[in-house]
Amino acid sequence: MSVTLEFRDVCYCIGGNLVLDNLNLRIVEGCTLVLLGRSGSGKTTALKMLNGLLFPSGGQVLVDDRATTDWDLIQLRRSIGYVIQEVGLFPHFTIGENVALVPRLKGWPPDRIAARVSELLDQVGLEPAQFLDRYPRQLSGGQRQRVGVARALAAEPKLLLFDEPFGALDPVTRVELQDQFLALRDRLRKTSIFVTHDVREALRLGTEIALLHRGRLEVLATPAEFVKSSGPEARAFLSTL
């Protein structure tokens, strides 16, 4: 389950605004790349190009050396886990059905799906017997996001995309989920891209940090190097620590 990712001269223009300006980035296998930036810096736009929710206006986004425009998008998306801040669980599906979604779309046999769903709920710290048949509205925000993570992991994706997944949670729950993210990452060793505007979260979770400012890549560094960077935007973020 290896994956290679590359942004090659990527521009994205919408309504006369340049959201991404000539982005070049190669993502190392097995790393957790954090896309850090202010609102409107283009970080979410860049993320959504990896699973073909958006396409570059110029340049190419390559997944496994193939441009996203050449991929069968349904197949591509089913091989990528996606977690967003609003979670987006299906309110008319039970927790079990939500987690089972992608395996079901991929046509796994029911007993394999059931086993996988229980295993995943366990992994994200939700007792399967207690949660399987509940509905999303019966869960707290933190529990819902745990389900969101389980759903993203369900069909053994080769890549995980996180769009400010813990942004709407209270600080204590956020740290709990960050811990869980680190534990899962150490166990699964999957390539992950993580969007955040919180430099603390970036330093904690990332193995690499890409700082975006007005659609441009300002800094690409490991957390240890990042804290020493001297650019004005990097300093602005570090001053929030």
Binding site: L53, R77, L89, F90, P91, H92, L105, Y135
Partner: protein, 206 residues
């Protein structure tokens, strides 16, 4: 209390009325529901189609029945013309509620469904329609109840139904005849409204 000669005619006209409403609603749903789904996919069609349905709704019912009489194929005197008019009236609430119900689905839920790799068809049938069902049903409910009322005017162009009593009662200043038409029509409306409210409770998810 009810004269026996009326009773038999009441049964017959109520039956006609129900058939008129059922046929019109079946056609209106068969046309309005897919069109509503189409409008969610083709924003450019929204203004013209909703505009057409809106204009239909503003034409007074008696006038619409009148307008249709001289039109070949769909017009003339009788049940067919009545059904055409009733369908045109029922279209707007069904069309609008189908559109509003689907567009009202939480954008985070829709984005997740697409990002999980659902096809357009899976998104529609497994996510959008189940979540829009209460709104769509509410549209069908409004359309049915108003159609039951409007269908009484079908008698003016020979469409039959409970309106026959009402028009005859007005012409002969006979309150008994008017009530013989109005009361069953009102009961039908209440009955279908109650029926729909029961169905809505069963399909609503939250």
């Amino acid at each position: 209390m009810i004269p026996p000669y009326l009773l038999q005619e009441m049964a017959q006209l109520t039956g006609e009325h129900v058939v008129l409403v059922l046929v019109s609603m079946a056609i209106a749903v068969a046309a309005g529901f897919p069109l509503g789904v189409l409008l969610t996919r083709r924003a450019a069609l929204r203004t013209p189609l909703l505009g057409f349905a809106n204009v239909m709704q503003t034409i007074p019912s008696l006038a619409l029945f009148g307008f249709l009489i001289p039109i070949p194929f769909i017009g003339g005197i009788g049940k067919r013309t009545a059904i055409v008019a009733l369908v045109l009236y029922a279209l707007l609430p069904i069309l609008r509620n189908t559109l509003a119900g689907i567009l009202g689905v939480d954008s985070a839920v829709r984005e997740s469904a697409i990002a999980m790799g659902m096809t357009g068809r899976q998104l529609l049938w497994q996510v959008e329609l189940p979540l829009a069902a209460p709104t769509i049903l509410a549209g069908v409910r409004i359309a049915t109840v108003t159609t039951i009322g409007t269908a009484t005017i079908a008698a003016a162009i020979g469409g039959g139904g409970l309106g026959v009593f009402i028009f005859r009662g007005i012409a002969s200043v006979d309150t008994t005849q008017i009530l013989a038409g109005a009361i069953p029509a009102a009961l039908l409306a209440l009955l279908s409204d109650g029926g729909f409210s029961w169905i809505e409770r069963r399909v609503s998810v939250s």
